[in-house]
């Protein structure tokens, strides 16, 4: 039986562990690391919200395989098209998920794949347009079983 004292010691250790984990970066990327990864793509250019639709299921049972689709509003003409679509996560071990390079021959700036999601978090998609502007869209997902770090799960 757990005494009150033991419980408090265990709870304190747990809380300390969580604090340490977030301070050291731990196995998970942090929102700051995601911002750094985004800046590697965008440089100094501002990222505006809109024109990008990121579709993911809001509630995830099996986070080892989560459908993700990104659709960007663009005429996809040689003069005005999407050059690239990047997807980033806040709390996966690495912020980068996928980078897709397109051109006017795509006809429609729309991609879909399946991803791993480590934790309840916000996923961000950023589209780079041919005029050098960047637009973003986000999706919030809730995870009930974690991927990436669990053993015996593929």
């Amino acid at each position: 039986m757990t005494s009150r004292r033991n419980f408090l010691i265990a709870a304190g250790g747990l809380a300390g562990g969580i604090g340490l984990g977030s301070a050291a970066g731990g196995a998970h990327a942090t929102p700051d690391e995601m911002q750094a990864a985004i800046r590697q793509v965008t440089g100094q250019a501002p990222v505006r919200r809109g024109r990008v639709k990121l579709d993911m299921p809001p509630l995830i049972d099996n986070s080892n395989s989560v459908s993700l689709s990104v659709t960007v509003e663009s005429p996809m003409t040689p003069a005005d098209h999407v050059k690239a679509i990047h997807v980033f996560t806040e709390k996966n071990p690495l912020p980068n998920v996928v980078s897709v390079f397109l051109g006017p021959r795509a006809g429609r700036a729309s991609i879909a794949t399946r991803v791993r999601i480590a934790d309840t978090q916000t996923v961000t998609a950023i589209a780079e347009f041919s005029d050098g502007s960047f637009w973003s869209g986000t999706a919030s997902v809730v995870v009930t079983l974690s991927a990436c770090l669990e053993e015996g799960l593929i």
């Binding site: 989560v66 397109l102 429609r108 791993r116 990436c148």
Partner: protein, 108 residues
């Protein structure tokens, strides 16, 4: 084995100028590099890094994958059907992984 480990879905016949959807699936464990065995040893990363599609030899789409892509990556994208010919797909990754697949398309 290499040819059997990838499947692509491309319409066989389409009209000129039509936007077609392409689906490509490849068999790969996509080992993230963040997992450990029960003895605590790190399992090294083994993932597909790049997926490229060419249309009659011209690159139309290139995707760079990271560890967050699920096992057996499925990737869906679009292209404009410009001319009859061949769509070639190539996946490359860690440990010399390389798989190619192609599909013929007839544009009328």
């Amino acid at each position: 084995m290499a040819s059997a480990s990838a499947v692509v879905n491309v319409p066989a016949t389409t009209k000129r100028g039509e936007i077609i959807e392409i689906k490509a699936l490849v068999r790969h464990a996509m080992e993230t590099g963040f997992r450990r065995t029960q003895l605590g040893e790190a399992i090294p990363r083994d993932i597909i890094r790049q997926f490229v599609c060419t249309y009659n030899g011209v690159e139309i789409m290139r995707a760079e994958f990271h560890s967050a892509i699920a096992a057996n990556p499925l990737f869906t994208f679009n292209t404009v059907a410009t001319e009859s010919g061949t769509l070639a797909f190539r996946w490359t990754g860690d440990n010399g992984f390389s798989v190619t697949e192609s599909a013929a398309i007839t544009v009328v």
